[in-house]
Symmetry: C2
Subunit: 335 residues, 2 copies
DNA sequence: GAAATTCATGAAATGGTTTTCAGGCTTTTA
DNA sequence: TAAAAGCCTGAAAACCATTTCATGAATTTC
């Protein structure tokens, strides 16, 4: 049915081996022969059978991506970056969403292994420890994107969540805020949310503010959860002067609740987010946040994964992408 | 290196054929034999070599997805729906972003063909005509998601853009708005934006409002473009009473510009969007919009593609998912 | 001008599965 | 009890590319 190398060989009047050599531009073939072959390829519109190639070579030029909650703007941009850089480097992407469930993660891992992926990007955060042991066992090159893994063997690229969260709290404290509340991520999220928590604690200590776990309301990174977290915060701590949400969507959700209650942001309460998604520039009030680039993170992840795959020298296992505190309208200095 | 069917066969003391039959649960194998084989499979942790299977069977359980601008919330949810339903039905996804460039689309089409995908979902809108002829030529089952294709052979699933845009304009007119301006999508986007434009024209005619092309400013579905489109609109048509942006992000961008100019929404100008992304509920003012579910659209697309792949009877080539006008705070009745 | 290299090519083995075909064994039927 | 039918299994071909090894031709070297 399909045209195969055999057909090309016949038309060009050469052997299979020669066609293969031309297609993989081996240097060992006379220019004239190569031209002849190329002509046949063009004429027949020959397309390689990838499965046959993979079967023989055991390399697929395929990168697996397993993520969760990828519809979130930050992660959607991360995926975009991954795709762009992967394509640039000649990889195709096979993409699976785990919904944050270990079983699905495992499942995709198996499927991807069966497809002989060259490497894998993990953007899933809940069960990374279990995943890790599987991946190590499979011996597949792996990069964790957007999460810090405390394992010297594992590469990861992420914003420095500790430092960034620290910066934000420091900024709030310097602006005179002492009565803070937080909307953290899911407790299951051991990579991003826990790290940000660490940064917060650090900054609190240096600002001599007591760390009160009660003041950390759990959200799940959605608008909705920010909204209801703000509600809880206001009922428990009506005197709060600043709310730090661990991502921008939750901050927007919180602001929305406060507006509903006729509480002015930032006059009555300052609200800040994390990620720096585009949306934050367009809402009212524009959101003060920590800006990081998901797209850049994606590019970098593939770059590193590619290095691992090609067994190139790697300078550093843990890569931090830049972050920046951007102060907009949702924060106020206290008198 | 890897464990193959041969190893399983040897351990189980049967032939390759039998192992294969067990794995594909052919009925022609004695239960006892099957158990023996299964035990060997488990013991060796055998994983099939997918490339070999694809090579032999010419079917991959792989679905290709080519999209553009997938970081937009609506499309990110569409992708999520596609992934969920594909997984449910035993497909894996190979995903490529075309950036709206024909060359990249072509390129991915080739790659995917080489990988023997079982079917393809196209979410790319600019060059669908050229794509179409390629896809037809390749004889790959295809579904266009989020765009209406006027070709009886081609399946597509989308919101009824004409009707929805019509509804929105009708709503505005009935609220007393006559002085309208529009932020449309890229002129290259022949699927969504042009269809919405048709709906608008239809409604204008019925409301006896003159269709003035000047009043349609081109955007590209980003916040930013909505912002600058609003700027253009206000300078050209300062008396406008309502702005209809062809997606929510542009509406939010427009609102942001108006706020900057101290123009009150909805008191001075009503602004409406399209898509009904979650964000619209949380901004100030909450956005009046046409709500459709990207996620549902994704599910449905895979469902239909699956039918085509399995050559099942298809009731209808063109499927419309529901839409709903949701009126929130960004619109006003004129006196 | 003969021997030694280098160069260009082809034949054949290989990768791991599915599937057809044939054959042996057991069970049913007359 | 012999013939027919049905069931289960194995051998081998097929899918399509890559790669090793061998070979013949062309070039270099002494």
């Amino acid at each position: 049915m399909d045209v195969t190398m055999k057909d090309v060989a016949k038309l060009a009047g050469v052997s299979l081996s020669t066609v293969s050599r031309v297609l993989n531009d081996s240097s060992l073939v006379r220019e004239e022969t190569a031209r002849k072959v190329q002509k046949a390829v063009d004429k027949l519109d020959y397309q390689i059978n990838d499965s046959a190639r993979i079967l023989r070579t055991n390399t697929s030029n395929l990168i697996g991506v397993i993520g969760a909650g990828m519809e979130r703007p930050f992660l959607a941009n991360l995926l975009k970056g991954i795709e762009a850089e992967a394509r640039e480097r000649g990889y195709a992407l096979i993409y699976g969403d785990s919904d944050g469930e270990f079983e699905k993660e495992q499942n995709y891992l198996n499927i991807m292994k069966q497809k002989k992926i060259d490497g894998i990007i993990l953007i899933t955060t809940n069960y990374y420890n279990d995943l890790l042991s599987i991946v190590k066992n499979y011996q597949i090159p792996v990069v964790f994107a957007s999460g810090y893994i405390n394992d010297p063997q594992i590469s990861c690229v992420t914003v420095d969540n500790v430092a960034a969260a620290y910066d934000m709290v420091e900024f709030l404290c310097k602006a005179g805020h002492k009565d803070l509340a937080f909307i953290k991520g899911p407790d299951l999220d051991l990579l991003a949310s826990q790290e940000r928590l660490r940064g917060v604690k650090l900054a609190l200590r240096l600002s001599e503010i007591r760390y009160e776990p009660r003041r950390f309301i759990e959200g799940d990174f959605t608008f909705e959860s920010g909204y209801s977290a703000a509600k809880k915060i206001m009922s428990k701590f009506p005197d709060v002067t600043a709310i730090f949400a661990f991502n921008d969507e939750m901050a927007v959700g919180a602001i929305s609740y406060l507006r509903e209650q006729n509480i002015k942001v930032p006059e009555d309460i300052s609200v800040v987010g994390f990620d720096g998604i585009e949306l934050g520039e367009y809402i009212d009030p524009a959101l003060t946040t920590i800006k990081q680039s998901g797209y850049q993170l994606g590019l970098k992840s593939i770059e590193i994964l590619n290095n691992i795959i090609n067994q190139e020298k790697i300078e550093d296992n843990k890569v931090f992408i830049p972050h920046e505190l951007v102060v907009r309208e949702s924060t106020n200095r206290l008198a």
